[in-house]
Symmetry: C2
Subunit: 347 residues, 2 copies
């Protein structure tokens, strides 16, 4: 005796349409041809019973989850919405579902929130997955695409990332050549953050090209974070270190730098030029509007999904996709624009 409390199953539909469950399954999946009249009966039965196939049963039987997992360390930060927007859009148009998990810094190797047990493939942003887990997934040939992180050489996993070094070089060149700055602070991102390392490399190379010696006092840690960068900038000022420009590492850190500089009564850009990296939403609205490098973050997300789907389809994926960056000149570097146009020129 069937309880009427639970949702209808495929057998209920089959009974009502007077066909086998195999036929119901076929009209739902639409891959195998079914006689139109029969299909019509099935459709009616589905509608009347308000039948929705249980995903778990489909997944178990078909061994396809139709779901992509996204693992990142934290949801906060102005960077994240751009990334998610691209990923979500591309995932949706591809007909996949999106499962999101934020590790919040803690790699707990015990529970595996996202993996081969509940997704068809994984998108991983920076170092949000332990190397052990990454290695394990690689061993079982589970599809994974990395964003803004290069795997160890023995792990061949596609990577999508951006031209960090070139971007940094453009910024530093501009500060030196156009605005005559020579004492430029670099604010590092979090430990072991690849973006940060490449940006620092660009910073160093650009200084060397202009025969400006690297001053270790000018390299501090801003953590790609407003608060941390605020504190770091305050300390720099308190310590009496001389500088005439700041490469904040990213735009979030630039905000912290702005705040510390303004609190100390330093004028931006007259006393200190400030540049960021990423060109997140708020950057153009800062006062002064932030000169930065535009990272095609949304496109990184889209491309990561595309490559992952290639993998899911058994196709070759591109092992490295390096996206171009572009300098966006606004006012914080010292360039002048007419009042009234500043808000609109880069939109």
């Amino acid at each position: 005796m069937k309880l009427k409390t639970s949702s209808p199953t495929i057998s209920d539909v089959a009974k009502k349409a007077k066909v086998s469950i195999a036929t119901v399954s076929r009209v739902i999946n639409g891959k195998t041809p079914v006689v139109p009249e029969t299909a019509e009966r099935v459709h009616r039965a589905i509608k009347e019973l308000q039948f929705v196939p249980r995903t778990a049963a489909q997944v178990l039987a078909s061994r396809k989850t139709n779901t992509i997992g996204l693992i990142l360390s934290e949801i906060g930060g102005a960077f994240f919405p751009h990334l998610l927007k691209g990923i979500e859009a591309e995932t949706r148009t591809s007909g996949y579902e999106l499962l999101i998990h934020s590790t919040q810094g803690a790699h707990d190797n015990q529970r595996k929130p996202l993996g081969e047990h509940n997704t068809d493939g994984l998108l991983v942003f920076t170092s949000s997955l332990s190397l052990d887990e990454l290695g394990r997934l690689h061993d079982i040939q589970f599809p994974v695409v990395l964003m803004h992180q290069t795997p160890p050489r023995e792990i061949n996993v596609p990577v999508i990332t951006i031209e960090n070094k070139d971007g940094a070089v453009m910024l530093i060149d501009h500060l030196i050549e156009m605005h005559g700055r020579r004492q430029i602070v670099y604010m590092r991102g979090p430990e072991d953050h690849e973006d940060s390392e490449w940006r620092e490399r660009g910073y160093r190379e650009a200084l060397e090209m202009h025969n400006i010696p690297i001053n270790p006092n000018l390299i501090v840690t801003g953590g790609f974070d407003e608060e941390q960068s605020f504190a770091a900038m305050q300390k720099l000022i308190r310590d009496g270190i001389q500088f005439d420009a700041v490469f904040a590492g990213d735009d979030d850190a630039a905000i912290g730098a702005y705040r510390a500089l303004k609190n100390a009564g330093r004028l931006i850009p007259d006393d200190v030029a400030v540049v960021g990296f990423d060109d997140v939403q708020f950057s153009r609205y800062l006062s002064p509007a932030l000169t930065t490098v535009r990272a095609p973050i949304e496109e990184v997300g889209r491309e990561a999904v595309r490559q992952l789907i290639r993998l899911l389809n058994g196709q070759q994926a591109q092992s490295l996709t390096l996206m171009r960056t572009e300098m966006i000149i606004r006012e914080s570097c010292g360039c002048k624009f007419q009042e009234g146009t500043s808000l609109s020129k880069n939109i």
Copy 2:
């Protein structure tokens, strides 16, 4: 003969640990007592085989997905990251997974990306779910919590929302009483957006309280969107409508208003005061810093998850949770602050 290419299953573990699959299941779930030595053997087998239980099989057998679904209309907008951050955090600490789907405005009633077939309960932001679908879920008693949307009376579903009207009244009162503004524009949000309707009600009531007649020319549509609000504000200016203040509807719309006003050479706040709603991340960084109402968006997300989990546990949920809003006075209303402190005072 078992193929070695596929991942290990619970039977592989059972075999290796020399127990039944039932016992393996029990040590994994930890609910039923198991003799320590046996459990130890099972744990070792799991580790050696790198066994991860297939979620689909667990879900199918246990009839619990352990997953919460989030449906919203769009990922963009400065509002969204705050909401997601709260939802994600609370979901994670509760041990649930989070499945996200954005409808992008299109209600396709055919495919049901999120529902009873793949989640234990649903979080719905504004009108991203059709009333039909909402009714269907309610009929089958599927747990749903609404955010920023009141359901039809016959559908009793918990709602989390904010004090929109009070917030709007505070803003308008402030503009009138502190800054002597009387020709205040209100920029509506999208069609049928409940937040927008309540804010408009607050706007109207506050004007009436001060015996200022409502001027229909001053009520336009900004769509809670930068571009749309930019266009609306431009049209207002082009049409020669007189006004000395703008209540932008939300902070995204305030940006559009800023841009249009600056392009037209109107000074904010001297010529036109501007106020927003939400207090999203960038609001304090605008120039001039935006006076707005702080909506506890992240907390709305957290509370929605909490209420949903009550439902999942068979407990009563609160049918309406109304969150307090708070006015954040910065500079765009006409209040003066010393240069150098403006960026930090509301952090």
